[in-house]
Symmetry: C2
Subunit: 341 residues, 2 copies
């Protein structure tokens, strides 16, 4: 009949809690909390004693509990469309370095170029009360967009420039496309095929194509397009070269959507004994180290990827610190004329 003999216990983990540390140290729990989080607000002697007790008990703070109480997780959500692309890896590296030094933890999400998946990831990340969110690109599903609009934390949209929700760091892909095609025209090429991969999803490649086409139309030239159904890679670049040779025998240049494809084609041309740029010129985009090591050196456009990640992180940290920030930042690009064009 006893009601309260066993007062309903939860399965507490074996790990010591703040309160236990406080008891062992003979202080109140808030003092332990302060000793760990704002040490300057605790008497040095008390602090030493508390830290020794923490050490002795092997106390590891429960960050979940702390986050709930303080309504803040030092998480930064980072959403990218792919991990298979070196570009995003370098951006992540730039973000990670800067954020880790500032004591933030990155939550990585991969959409695989699917906007619904992005919305799903955003939901999850909002649920974790992230301090800020970084995402690649300005295009989102409407569900995703409305979630983000209601959110009251900094948002950074990266890679491209335009109408952003909040902060924006990137470059002008249409201009990059124009730039490369101007270059190819100046070298005398006239039959230029543009080759992309999954361009409906990798729409930034599509923007570069738009710039490319614009320039060719101004010159009253055709702008044939080959859009491959798989994700860009070296192997796919080789395949693309075969396909272009078969379908556009008179092509004198190929403008690839990225360096992976371009380098794949270049190496394949080497295997086939096709002269680059004598028989056909090849150009890429990104400025990956690989393209600069092959012979002939790849003509490409360098995008400051790691810098973009760093800058994004710095802007967000400034915003989180309440400092004023530039909303839109153009990181630009550089034409790297190689020997493949």
């Amino acid at each position: 009949m006893s009601k309260s003999s066993t007062p309903r216990r939860r399965r507490g983990s074996a790990r010591p809690t703040l309160t236990q540390v406080a008891e062992a140290a003979g202080v109140s729990s808030i003092t332990v909390s302060r000793a760990l989080n704002t040490p300057e607000r605790v008497n040095p002697e008390t602090r030493r004693h508390i830290l020794a007790t923490v050490e002795r008990l092997g106390y590891v703070p429960n960050l979940v509990a702390g986050s709930l109480a303080s309504a803040s997780t030092r998480f930064i959500a980072v959403i990218v469309p792919s991990l298979a692309n070196a570009v995003f890896i370098e951006v992540i590296q730039g973000l990670q370095e800067t954020f880790e030094d500032a004591g933030y933890q990155i939550l990585l999400g991969n959409t695989d170029y699917d906007l619904d998946r992005e919305a799903q990831l955003v939901r999850t990340f909002l649920g974790w009360s992230c301090s800020a969110l970084v995402t690649a690109g300005l295009r989102h599903s409407s569900a995703c967009r409305s979630l983000l609009q209601q959110w009251d934390h900094p948002i950074m949209e990266m890679m491209e420039l335009g109408e952003a929700l909040d902060l924006n760091v990137g470059l002008d892909h249409t201009a990059a496309g124009r730039c490369m095609t101007h270059h190819l025209l100046s070298r005398g090429y006239r039959q230029i095929v543009y080759v992309g991969a999954r361009m409906a999803e990798d729409y930034r490649a599509g923007m570069r194509y738009a710039g490319h086409r614009e320039v060719l139309e101004d010159a009253e030239l055709a702008a044939p397009l080959l859009d491959l159904a798989r994700l860009g890679s070296l192997e796919l670049g080789a395949l693309a070269l075969d396909q272009v040779l078969a379908t556009h025998p008179r092509a004198d240049a190929i403008h690839f959507a990225n360096d992976d494809l371009a380098t794949g084609a270049l190496l394949h041309a080497q295997r086939l004994g096709i002269g680059v740029p004598k028989d056909i010129a090849i150009a890429g985009f990104n400025g990956l180290p690989l393209g600069q090591q092959v012979t002939p050196r790849l003509t490409t456009i360098r995008s400051p990827r790691q810098r973009m990640g760093q800058l994004a992180a710095e802007q967000l940290l400034a915003r989180l610190a309440g400092e004023p920030v530039t909303l839109r930042q153009d990181v630009g690009f550089t034409l790297l004329p190689g020997d493949s064009s």
Copy 2:
């Protein structure tokens, strides 16, 4: 004099809570919780009504609170030494795919080959009550080791095989080193230089060197070593070739610690007009696509990286589901004899 007129409010965020959804739907909060987490335990009609209310209010569950209450986060901590190396990226991809499908979120940590940083990351990740932890390698600082030993969740140590704390998926790097050097000997090379990068930290490259040296010592040959001070890359491989040619003019083969270095050297040889393998043979390790696209095709050893990540994730999921698992799993490796040796 009124004490309770303003009963001490916390800054609640504007977002609706479970309780508010429950009130709006006219049920208790636990019913809303169940409708979202274990829908089959709620009457279909009630559930529909609750989900509509959730939608209407734009409710996003606070996962931090849920995790505190349930003492579980569905986080998987993943610790790698570097993001600059394609190998770890592929492993992460393998992990991510499998875990994301199972509803887990990856917490990524980068040690930059620093064991103290690893220990620090482990502390943080334990603080987040991760469901499991994955780390690259079997070597840890003693602080890290003791933290992990006390931890009562699954731990996966990847990449190499040996005395593990818990689960272990990887391959035998010493054997891989032996395998490649056997191959080079069988092709007739006798003056083989081994080239690694930061081998004190990338000690798995050191293990491959150990296997390499073992084989050469059995054949009563010298095993000269060049250990570069920077992280492996294509550029560094080119530099390494120069250095080997200068310091070991009689070398007839170079056994590189990885494909990046090897391919960099191979492409550089091409620029210098040095014949591969006529003047000098080149071998790598990893089996990256790049090495298979260059001419001559790179002789290398393929490690099943993505598979390793997948397998690690599968083993951990099985363990988390309480199923029995194999503690140590050898994923093996395959010699890919190319035309560079």
